[in-house]
Symmetry: C2
Subunit: 333 residues, 2 copies
Amino acid sequence: MTGSVLAVDLGGTNLRVAVVSADGVVSHRRSLPTEAAAGPEAVADRIATLLEETATAAGMLADVPAGVAVPGPVEPHQGVVYFMPNLPGWRNFALGAALRRRTRRLIQIANDGNCAALGESRFGVGAGVRDLIYLALGTGVGGGIISDGRLIEGVSGVAGEVGHVTVALDGPRCTCGSIGCLEAFVSGWAITREAKIIATTDDGAAIRRAAAGKPITPTVIALAASDGDPAALALLDRAGRALGAGVGSFINLFNPELVVIGGGVATLGEALMAPARRALASHTFPEQRACARLVESALGDDTALYGAAALAFGTANGPGTVQSDMSERRVNA
Amino acid sequence: MTGSVLAVDLGGTNLRVAVVSADGVVSHRRSLPTEAAAGPEAVADRIATLLEETATAAGMLADVPAGVAVPGPVEPHQGVVYFMPNLPGWRNFALGAALRRRTRRLIQIANDGNCAALGESRFGVGAGVRDLIYLALGTGVGGGIISDGRLIEGVSGVAGEVGHVTVALDGPRCTCGSIGCLEAFVSGWAITREAKIIATTDDGAAIRRAAAGKPITPTVIALAASDGDPAALALLDRAGRALGAGVGSFINLFNPELVVIGGGVATLGEALMAPARRALASHTFPEQRACARLVESALGDDTALYGAAALAFGTANGPGTVQSDMSERRVNA
């Protein structure tokens, strides 16, 4: 099955594996609960088992490589996970070695935000684009930066923390410990935190009505905003302004051709995106702004899975790696 | 004179040319007033004349390349200057072609901030470092970003605007038209703007005394701060906090090994740098922070000149460029 790789998207709740072909066809999807509480060795067991089940079902050779997207910072050369904010017990865990030992495959591991940037640049709206920034507006804000066709990794592999740039010196506290991060304005948790406070006040009637007794979520705020509720509109306006200023900073720093926005919060609509576009226009140089398009991700929930595949294809196409090994073996056979 | 190149630092006031050897020895320095009012063609004439006088004085071959640092954004492949904030009449001026026509040399042109980053990474405190950010805190704030050994240029060559990232959504207006840019807090003009306002108030006695009837400059503020003046200390504290938050953002984004600070404002001392270091610590992830050293530039006023030389050496060492042409010619002679 040349021309396909194995892709793993490890999440805090679910673990997903699939086969992805060079032209982006996803097949043989499987998933399992991550069962993160059991710790990293047990999670590595589950990943390896699911990988081999998938490979067998797809009739794949034993040395087809696998790419793995993980929700935490990773040392990219050896695949050591520094830590996982949402998975207990991961501290400098050598996931790459653990999976290589269990599967005998070439394994490439990267942070899911960085993976997603790779996925967009290989399979998504960024196909063919050499300068691209990907932002995932989910519960948190992650992403990755591709400059001149290469992922920016940094000296220890943890570059690309696009959610944790300061957009407001004296802004709200972020869960990372810092102050005024982009994530502290425009993430799912930040929007929810603000909305919960508003809901306890006289101004929160529309938000309470939209929640209808269920938990307050960003979707609830969007619903109240679409009914014209001033408090919900003001909340999303502030989040949108922060988003525009943050993306504007990235545009001035990286001069990208494309800024791709993914994640659930990106779907909240014009109450968020209109102020974001206004702020973006006033926070960028004309030259940089003229080059940059702001677009929505087209890969949806599969962005990181596609990125894991892109990682593995990088391995497969690189010098001295699986595919060349495979051809050599065929020649010798 | 193999092993040396010509380096040009074009400023709004002065034009400087020198010979720089591969191991960083600067010789044959010459300078002229830029006379920017005469427009880009006349400035190109002056650069070409000074280049050829310098080359003749140094006994250099006609095909030794030249690097040129300019105070504005540049398209790097052809050397087209998009505009110059402080030089009138420069709008999409093909300085590269103009200098190639006049000198028959290989010419490489880059923004002076980007050049300075290259200079630090080849000749300065960043020698051997592959992930480096350079910030020049001067009248404005410029700089450049080197990731995995390569200058980040962006899709049209204007990446690296490190002074124009938003650190305060609702901060002071920047001269670029945006709001809350790093430059609007920590540049020479921003510090002076604040100080001039303070000097008109009751709180401004110490600043007025430090100015002693002369114009208020950042050095005046530093003097008042060193005497313990609360207003000057508060001003530099705010500027320092912005600097720390901005550099912190860069550290989270790029995971650099080194952040090099140059320019006159960087020499204002602890009243600026102590709050900057505190803010930096609280605005970065521990992993990224542990990798990054914050250091002062050692190249001083010559940073961009060294960078222009680094540009030219890049040309000289690249494929199909001057040095290989020269060897071919020797073989054929």
